[in-house]
């Protein structure tokens, strides 16, 4: 593993290796002194060309918990605003001396270009509506902790699949780990070409609901045009929101996930978000552990898998 760009090329052994190590990292994070010296002397650059709070903070925390130094870059306060190109920007950061780059960019494929230009490992922290592999790792970790395995677990991903890099990443990771994935969305919010995806699709949340072990809700991405395909957010909620009423019809042991940021009252009702069966905060904590595992294996080489 030289870079982590997409979940599509991660086989089951690699995913399992990362999740096993992430479990070890969870136990580190539970300690009073949640810090180990492993990456002392290494520098991680977090380069966010698109806004983010949780992902950037999560990578920061992950790098620091392993004693790496962190250099942060945000596009709005950089020389990009003076017209510097992406290539010159990343080459400059590399020349400053970094050992790994975490890249988020609004353009699909940008982290692949960066990986061609630099000679350090690159982690894709989200490129356009394309991929967000560490999100898929933390979600897989959260589900594996809860169910013990993903084999045979029935997961419904609900909402704006079309504009969602989270869905594109999770579909492949979940399926590779043996889960049974159903995409639930209005036809207008399903990807144009999904016939190759290892999933079922439906537009009827109410039909699918009772068979699910886990409901994975997505945010309606207004900034990517996700809100323009149905008449109102109220109508969206009526058909695809996990309302308190729908929540009652779930299996008693089914759980709810959401990658955040949540829009309460649209894709998820507040009482559902705050229910103990909502794993949203576990996802955030596991995000740090999953990213620690990624930094550890990219900088330290991989175990024999």
């Amino acid at each position: 593993m030289n870079h982590l760009l997409t979940t599509q090329d991660l086989d089951r052994d690699h995913l399992t290796m990362l999740l096993d190590t992430a479990d070890g990292m969870v136990s580190l994070l539970e300690r009073d002194i949640a810090k180990a010296p492993t990456l002392r002397g290494k520098t991680v650059a977090t380069m966010f060309f698109e806004p983010s709070t949780r992902t950037k903070l999560s990578f920061d925390k992950a790098a620091k918990a392993l004693s790496a130094d962190v250099m942060s870059f945000t596009a709005s306060s950089s020389s990009l605003t003076k017209g510097e190109s992406l290539k010159d920007t990343v080459l400059t950061v590399q020349a400053l001396g970094v050992d790994l780059m975490v890249v988020r960019h609004g353009a699909t494929g940008a982290p692949w270009r960066v990986a061609e230009w630099v000679d350090v490992p690159v982690v894709n922290a989200g490129d356009g509506a394309h991929q967000h592999p560490t999100q898929a790792l933390l979600d897989s970790l959260t589900l594996r902790q809860h169910f013990g395995t993903l084999d045979g677990v029935k997961i419904g991903i609900v909402g704006d699949i079309r504009h969602s890099r989270v869905a594109r990443s999770n579909v492949f990771a979940f399926a590779t780990l043996g889960a049974d994935v159903t995409l639930i969305a209005p036809p207008t919010l399903l990807p144009v070409a999904n016939s190759e995806w290892p999933v079922h699709t439906t537009s009827e949340l109410d039909d699918a609901l009772t068979g699910l072990d886990a409901v994975y809700l997505l945010r309606v991405q207004s900034e990517r045009g996700g809100a323009s395909v149905f008449p109102s957010l109220g109508e969206y909620r009526a058909r695809f929101g996990l309302t308190a009423e729908r929540f009652k019809r779930l299996k008693p042991d089914a759980v709810v996930l959401h990658p955040g940021p949540m829009i309460r009252g649209v894709e998820i009702d507040a009482v559902v978000a705050d229910d103990p069966r909502s794993l949203v905060l576990e996802q955030v904590t596991n995000g740090v552990a999953a990213r620690m595992a990624v930094l550890y294996h990219l900088l330290g080489g991989e175990a024999d898998v």
Binding site: T21, G24, R31, D32, I33, P37, L66, Y296, G300, D304
Partner: protein, 175 residues
């Protein structure tokens, strides 16, 4: 491959180590056993059971992965990190670290650093099934199942029923 310990030898060594721990610490009141991944964990479990029988008390058992504390991180492939779970606190307790083979001492150095990050035990002791010599650091074991003089060219293999489905210690020459 020459077998130097069979399952009965291993069982006897574990029983003796448990007695020595009890004798050295005048009981096991504040003892916590911590097994180092991978084969230190079943060994710590077995020593704990013997000790519990001798002292008629529960012995807390922890697991420790030293992968994040290795000193050769840059030069060798990174192994999967296992869970470190220490029940209650090590503060002020007697921690007995348990591993299968003591060789260069570098694993134990890493384990001491890891424990230090978890608190300040009253004392740390070391129990190993096999001490094969060739230390690279000033570290010694307090409890040794078997001292096994080896050459650095030889390989020592410990197999335990819980992990390997067979039991014993083997020594073989490598090139």
């Amino acid at each position: 491959m020459k077998r130097v310990l069979d399952e009965k030898d291993v069982a006897r060594a574990i029983r003796r180590i448990a007695h020595e721990i009890s004798e050295r610490n005048r009981g096991a009141g504040d003892v916590i056993l911590v097994g180092i991944h991978t084969r230190g964990i079943p060994l710590a479990d077995r020593i704990g059971r013997e000790l519990a029988a001798i002292e008629d008390t529960e012995i807390p058992l922890g697991t420790l992965d030293i992968g994040l504390y290795r000193d050769d991180f840059a030069s060798r492939p990174a192994p999967v990190i296992g869970r470190t779970d220490i029940p209650d606190t090590i503060e002020g307790r007697t921690v007995v670290l348990v591993d299968d083979v003591l060789y260069t001492g570098r694993t134990i150095r890493a384990a001491l650093d890891a424990l230090t990050d978890m608190g300040r035990p009253a004392r740390i002791q070391l129990a190993v099934l096999v001490d094969r010599g060739h230390r690279e650091l000033p570290i010694r074991a307090d409890y040794v199942g078997k001292n096994l003089p080896t050459s650095e060219k030889e390989r020592v293999t410990v197999h335990l029923q819980e992990i390997d489905g067979e039991e014993g210690v083997w020594i073989e020459a490598t090139l």
